[in-house]
Amino acid sequence: MSASDGFSWYLPLWALVATLAMTSILEASRGLGFSRLSLPFLIGTFVTDQRGRAVVIGFIVYTLGGWLFAFVYFMLFSSVRIYTWWFGALAGLVHGLFLLTCALPLLPFVHPRMASEYHSASAIRQLEPPGFLAMNYGYHTPLSTLFAQIVYGATLGGFVEVANWMNS
């Protein structure tokens, strides 16, 4: 089976590289002071309130999630038979917008440790809510998140494009 069929034996490797690229961008944006958003931390705190443990658990789950999510991207590429970096970037952009406008705003209602605008002052919840476009974590958060998601999609699409080019 060729890469253009939506699958390659190298797919898990590409998925890992794309996930690492995305994670690196998000972490770099934290280190550079653009945003405080840490998706691994938010994921990890679903299961523990200990910061150090939450970061480790969250990072493992997030990496696995990014790795598995790559298969959805490949299914998307395969379904429309477009295997290019720019289509991957477009998919990443849509994915990022969904994350910012739907998934993160939902988080305060499902996360056991996150406050929401609707919780009373009596609720002992220690994580601040993301707010509109997650801008409570810094006004540049939407940009860094979208950029990371675009790089993730473009990396996956780019790998398939290169593989196709090498096979042709």
């Binding site: 150090g52 605008e117 009373s120 009596s122 220690q126 601040e128 707010g131 974590y137």
Partner: protein
């Protein structure tokens, strides 16, 4: 509780002290003695206002008051933030209860924010006039008010919606709803004002449901107040200060705002008007100490979390202030359309002081963490690493000039208090290291050396032997009341002759009728003369108590408490001649000072009793 008479139909700008605060730990409203809600920002403390008559007669209000001349008595329901205003007229008495319900809106369909106003006829018959005039976006937006149902009115902007639910027949008078009604003994009317942003609006029920929300809110505040472990003679004032501090805590992030208002003037008619709806790190050490010492450990934990993690965007450097979520985009702009409190312009939105530099902030944050850890709470390894990194910044920067704790504009100078807080930063880190709470590793030796260097610098240049006193600046001669904190932060003991001399010098130079100015008027180079500074006046009480001069401390404490308003609230400053409150209001820092004073007095009593 005290009385004041208001004449029928008379409208005047209330004194700052005439306001009381209600809130839900996300935003706060100010209500005048005459029953007018004149300040409310929505949805959060630093959001644009929906009611701002505090700053301009046409910027929005929601008033409920008798038509005839009346006298007012006011109090908070004991141990709560629920305000009761009793109006007495020649024909009868009514009571107005104001609160922001503490409700779980996740497990119900209650609104995102709500202000609940309940009017109850006590005796006779009182004719009331009600005016509802919301003006969104600091009074700039006059959104039309439309009727939704018989009882519900809506007023909305692009993303926000206000809903007023009441059973009275309101008359639509342009952008204002008006009504008059006669309240007789036993009769009750409810006014529920709810708010939502970027969501479907929900109407909070009135009648018995509203009374139940009021009851739950009173119970919640009493339960919270029950955590206060201060049982001394000053408990009522301490608890009121603690509740006021809690009202200024932003429960969604753990931040504590300096005050819920902007541009209440430090000089009436002057330009010393600043936006205080942000979080100043200079308050961190004393605020943390207040929370921990009173037994409010959840608030202390949330506050430390905010201090260490919300400030991440600028780490390891720290700005002097942040917004509620730790962001730094709080640039200052002028609200030229607002007349200002008693024509004190400009009205500022945002705070340009964020561009200033204060070397004391690292020391404040580290001191807060040390106080938290000393109360038996744990610091995680990540927190420990952050604190050690702050120490590196201090070692690198302590010799540089700054704007000082009081944000003096203009050229940076070498303030003695800033150097002391750099010393405090390293001293607390070494203390945490010695107790095994953090591991400084190879940093220990340089931190010890730098701490010694800073102390040498303070003793050689920060103490003026001719004056026999520490001074505001290195090699200077002016005074700074912040120097009284040298004892509180453990740099000196109160009985140290140099500290006693410094206290007397501060009292001599900056004292006025039992109050203290923070520095000599005019020192900051700004126009106008500011009032005596609330918190530093309380520092003097702490100093006396630390020297076991309990009676003097109590006398001074009582004298200061007499400057509070009828419900125990303080502004930032006090005008010595008139006793009027100045500056943003109520001021968290002043209430922190009151708590510190009372705790210091109580500690002194115990020492003497032993």
């Amino acid at each position: 509780m005290n009385r004041q008479t208001s004449r029928a139909g008379e409208l005047h700008q209330p004194e700052i002290k005439d306001y009381a605060i209600i809130g839900d730990c996300r935003t706060a409203a100010l209500i005048s003695r005459e029953g007018s809600l004149d300040w409310l920002c929505l949805p959060n403390f630093s959001s644009p206002s929906a009611f701002a008559r505090l700053l301009d007669p046409d910027a929005g209000h929601f008033s409920i008051r008798p038509r005839a001349s009346f006298t007012v008595e006011r109090q908070y329901v004991p141990e709560t933030a629920v305000l009761e205003t009793t109006f007495k007229t020649a024909s009868g008495t009514v009571r107005l209860t104001d609160l922001c319900p503490v409700s779980d809106s996740v497990g119900s369909l209650l609104p995102m924010r709500e202000v609940l106003r309940i009017v109850e006829g006590i005796s006779g018959c009182v004719e009331l006039e009600i005016e509802f005039a919301p003006r969104l976006h600091y009074g700039r937006m006059r959104a039309p008010i439309r009727r939704l149902t018989d009882a519900v009115w809506r007023c909305g902007g692009a993303t926000e919606l206000l809903l007023l639910n009441c059973n009275l027949e309101l008359v639509d008078d342009g952008p204002t709803l008006k009504a008059t009604t006669c309240m007789t003994g036993g009769e009750r009317q409810h006014f529920s004002l709810s708010y939502v942003e970027r969501d479907v609006g929900t109407i909070a029920p009135i009648g018995a449901d509203a009374d139940a929300r009021c009851g739950r809110t009173i119970a919640w505040w009493r339960s919270w107040s029950g955590l206060c472990n201060f049982m001394g003679r000053e408990r009522d004032m301490v608890l009121r200060s603690a509740i006021t501090l809690k009202l200024m805590t932003f429960c969604l992030s753990g931040a504590i705002v300096s005050a819920p208002t902007t541009s209440l003037p430090e000089t009436i008619g002057g330009a010393r008007n600043w936006d205080y709806r942000y979080c100043w790190l200079r308050d961190a050490g004393l605020t943390m100490s207040s929370l921990v010492d009173l037994g409010f450990h959840e608030e202390a934990s949330s506050y430390l979390g905010w201090l260490l993690h919300a400030t991440r965007l600028t780490r390891p450097n720290l700005r002097i202030l942040y917004d509620l979520y730790g962001r730094t985009s709080v640039g200052e702009r002028i609200a030229g359309w607002l007349a200002g409190y008693m024509n004190s312009v400009p009205v500022r939105i945002g705070n340009g002081a964020i561009m200033q530099r204060q070397l004391d902030v690292h020391g404040q944050v580290i001191a807060a963490a040390q106080i938290f850890a000393a109360s038996g709470r744990k610091l995680g390894p990540l927190e420990a690493k952050m604190l050690a990194n702050f120490g590196d910044v201090v070692c690198k920067q302590w010799r540089e000039p700054d704007n000082g704790i009081w944000e003096i504009p203009g050229a940076r100078r070498s303030y003695t208090f800033s150097k002391v807080m750099c010393w405090v930063a390293l001293d607390r880190l070494l203390s945490l290291h010695e107790r095994g709470i953090i591991d400084l590793g190879a940093r220990e030796t340089p931190f010890r050396q730098t701490r010694a260097d800073i102390a040498d610098c303070i003793e050689s240049d920060g103490f003026n032997a001719d004056l026999g006193s520490y001074t505001a600046e290195l090699s200077g001669h002016e005074m700074d009341a912040a120097l009284l904190l040298l004892v509180r932060f453990g740099y000196k003991v109160a009985s140290d002759p140099q500290m006693i001399a410094t206290y007397h010098r501060i009292e001599q130079v900056l004292g006025c009728d039992g109050l203290l100015y923070r520095y000599l008027p005019g020192h900051d180079g700004l126009k106008g003369r500011e009032g005596a500074f609330g918190i530093v006046s309380f520092f003097a009480v702490v100093h006396l108590a630390e020297r076991d001069l309990v009676q003097e401390a109590i006398q001074r404490f009582d004298h200061l408490c007499a400057f509070a308003n009828d419900v125990g609230l303080f502004g930032e400053e006090i005008e010595p001649q008139s006793g009027r409150a100045l500056g943003n209001y109520p001021q968290a820092f002043t209430h922190v000072g009151l708590i510190h004073s009372a705790l210091a007095i109580e500690r002194a009593r115990r020492r003497i009793a032993q």
